[in-house]
Subunit: 501 residues, 2 copies
């Protein structure tokens, strides 16, 4: 490591430390802060975000990056040093393309739109939200123009969340399994098989829900000496370092799944961060590679492990010990069917594995058409409902449970939705590769042993942090690109079995 | 408010926001952080502390202060604007007098000494701590030289914690009640009266301890919509704004007082911060005036209210409802005597009201002699024990429970101890004034009503934040200076009654 590289790391450290402090301010805001602290907190977060942005976009960063680059002497592409310069260089390039006035406009517009949306959703009043959303779409386009793109402005927006992914590729992946998904859901509907989840809709005291969920994620390998769990209204995971990666959970006393599978899900995110190599911990590349990569890991632990029949052969007795009255007499097959019941819902966050990606496709199609100028904001509700009917065979009765349901657009998060579906696709690709390398994994999981799987994920994914993009990681691991075939096959097999298709 | 003043406020806001983020990082470190987060956390705190110091000591601060000063146009001494310029100007003057190299040396020496002290205390090995403490005393002297003083280097050190206080004045105040304290303790010892606290040494489940302590501080007026309580090994209060002032508590299952009176104590600190005027909230003068002023409020609620007979006439039935088996049959007088038992201890933090200030006097005498060069570090243990014998009539059996017991010196906190005793003196002076203004206060407290007292404290103390020094506040409130007569009279009356003196 040369002197210029050392100077760069020192400079970036300062910026990264401000960023970590902001993360703690946000964590506390959602987990601990009393209501009276909101006003002062917003000011502190705004100041630290501005300081971070100012320091990072200063010419000093460019100078140090260039000097360190000159010093690299052909270090390997996958070395920590070359990766740092490559990834941070891209970050710098993107961050410096936005003029300060556009950054400020965007911050103001999203803060204002979020308030308007909250009220519009409550009152089922899309018209009230329309002007705010039009402004957000306009600003998104201006941001895309600044960042630059060749094919589609949506390409530029997606880079914030999934570097290297393109609109064309997403469309191809989505179109590649949409007909099969629509057909699968229709077949399930027509199967005549009814799967009841009544067993999950009893009174489950929160303390026991918590104890058993934590016991299971600890068995997965989530390290509580380097993590903790708290309650939050909108659950999330937050990393401060590989030594401090936290999860949050929401409890519903009369419905078991949200806390149970939510804890598996956030535990997956947090184990990813706990697995990052010590050599890049505390640097700007010492975190998960992309939102899609992150989601692949939360979904892998939540669904491929956590909703599998084998896993519950080991876990159900523990759940029964925690809830003898509610679950004491349930058999494995009834329980397994209950947690995998397919039930098309208007609401994305309540969607099961079979329907989830359809919710995402709908949003992707609409938002990419919005920024392409092919769809007007005013036409969104009509278009939403028409597509929903086409994909799910039902029409949302209100915009509150339709086009107004998600927080994303009001927060300016256009280009974010695809990452959820990409995560689902990748979760199956990676899980299949892990089993190919270690065919004993399913049997181990059925015995409550998860270390072979976790170790494989650490070695192939977690340790690398942001050194590689999702595309690069997928190529390294599977020898090919991200694809939808594995995912749709997984769903067809799993739900074909469940619904006698 | 002129344009330059506005610019100054904006500049200071940024610095203050960094400071608030650091406070949250420290709060989280003691309350929430998993052990694995320690290393990364230290780095983030160091960076933010450095950024704050750099920005505050920049010439820009001096320029903005001078420009805003020129714009004041004779604003009243007690106006927010004049107070801000006066107090922040003093802060700036002190902060800029320390060369960066001395700041770094001091940070390094205290971090290192703290580790050495921890081990030395465990192993009762003062000699191992001696060189580290010698270095700290030397650095304290160098800091005092930089800050400047006329009479005594200890004057310069005390200004960090109690602006405007002098060594001579502390000595006068302490000498003014030391003989009476020594005599009081001797008289209690010779009284033949035994007060048992056995009733407090039973098993008190922590959940009930917590519920009843929180109920009482809420009755005092601590606002949980603008605060919260957590568990910490070394309890403290922490303010982020008047809308977010938090407390922490330590629970001992087989001894009731630590959590109960500790919650009253920290609640007093937090109510002070919740009472600061909105007009100065979020500025550098929007916090308690000094450590002594802060301690006067924690002590007032802990002791003058919380250990009074009248208060327990109202509170004991609630405590009995929480602990029917343990306390159901205790009468008010027995309970009141138990919580006020005088029992000389080697350990300051376990000291009762009658002996507390003697512990402080001992420390003040030793540390002021250390920095004056009248006492060598090597002679500290001998001198500690000799004075302890003279004041308490007993000699510490080990240095662990003697000269090594406190964390302060190893952390570089020389000049801090007197603020505890000053807080005790002020607590009685202020309480007496409140009662003079509202003679119904004792009767109200006996009925569980605390708003007249809290409101008086808000109006006369809390709202002003750091606009005035402790001396100025005392003068405004009592028409005179801080004095020891009220405190010693309070003790003599209270313990004369308890011990038939």
């Amino acid at each position: 490591m040369g002197e210029h590289y050392r100077q760069l790391v020192e400079h970036l450290n300062e910026i990264y430390h401000i960023n970590r402090a902001t993360s703690l301010l946000r964590w506390d805001q959602q987990v601990s802060m009393p209501p009276g602290g909101a006003h002062a907190r917003a000011g502190v977060i705004a100041t630290l975000s501005r300081l971070e942005h100012e320091r990072f976009t200063s010419p000093q960063t460019a100078d140090l990056l260039a000097a360190a680059q000159a010093e690299l002497n052909g270090a390997a592409y996958d070395s920590d040093e070359a990766s740092m310069l490559r990834v941070v260089g891209q970050d710098y390039d993107r961050a410096t393309r936005l003029p300060a006035e556009l950054v400020a406009d965007y911050a103001e517009a999203t803060a204002s739109a979020h308030k308007i949306w909250t009220h519009a959703r409550q009152t089922n009043d899309f018209a009230a939200f329309e002007p705010a959303l039009e402004r957000i779409v306009d600003l998104a386009l201006r941001r895309a123009d600044q960042w630059g793109y060749t094919d589609h402005p949506y390409d530029a927006l997606m880079q914030q969340y999934e570097r290297g992914m393109t609109t064309a590729r997403v469309r191809e992946l989505f179109d590649g399994h949409k007909p099969q998904l629509v057909a699968l859901i229709a077949a399930i509907k027509d199967s005549g098989v009814t799967v009841s989840d009544a067993i999950l809709r009893q009174r489950f005291p929160i303390d026991q829900q918590n104890t058993v969920a934590l016991k299971i994620v600890e068995a997965f390998g989530y390290d509580f000496k380097r993590g903790r769990q708290d309650v939050a209204v909108h659950p999330f995971a937050m990393r401060f370092s590989r030594g401090d990666a936290r999860i949050t959970t929401r409890f519903t006393e009369d419905y078991l799944p949200p806390a149970l599978f939510g804890t598996f899900h956030e535990g997956g995110h947090a184990m990813y961060e706990q697995g990052i190599s010590e050599t890049i911990d505390g640097t700007m590349i010492g975190c998960g590679a992309s939102l899609g990569m992150h989601e692949s890991q939360s979904r892998l632990w939540e669904n491929l492990v956590g909703r599998s029949r084998g896993f519950w052969g080991w876990a159900l007795p523990q759940l029964q010990a925690a809830f003898p009255d509610q679950l004491g007499s349930v058999d494995l097959e009834t329980f397994y069917r209950a947690i995998n019941a397919v039930q098309p819902s208007y609401i994305r966050v309540e969607a099961d594995e079979a329907t989830y990606n359809l919710h995402i496709m709908l949003r992707f199609e609409l938002e990419s058409d919005l920024v392409a100028g092919k769809l007007k904001v005013a036409d969104l509700p009509r278009e939403w409902n028409a597509r929903f009917e086409a994909y799910f065979g039902m029409t949302p009765p209100t915009d509150t449970v339709g086009v107004l349901q998600d927080v994303h657009w009001s927060s300016g998060l256009i280009g974010y939705f695809p990452t959820y579906a990409l995560g689902n696709l990748l979760s199956v690709q990676f899980y299949n590769e892990a089993i190919k390398a270690h065919p004993t994994i399913p049997a181990e999981i059925a015995a409550g042993k998860f270390d072979t799987l976790l170790n494989w994920l650490c070695v192939h994914i977690y340790q690398h942090g942001r050194k590689f993009t999702a595309q690069e990681l997928t190529e390294r691991i599977t020898g090919g690109a991200i694809r939808s075939e594995d995912y749709i096959q997984y769903l067809q097999t799993k739900f074909g079995d469940l619904y006698n298709l």
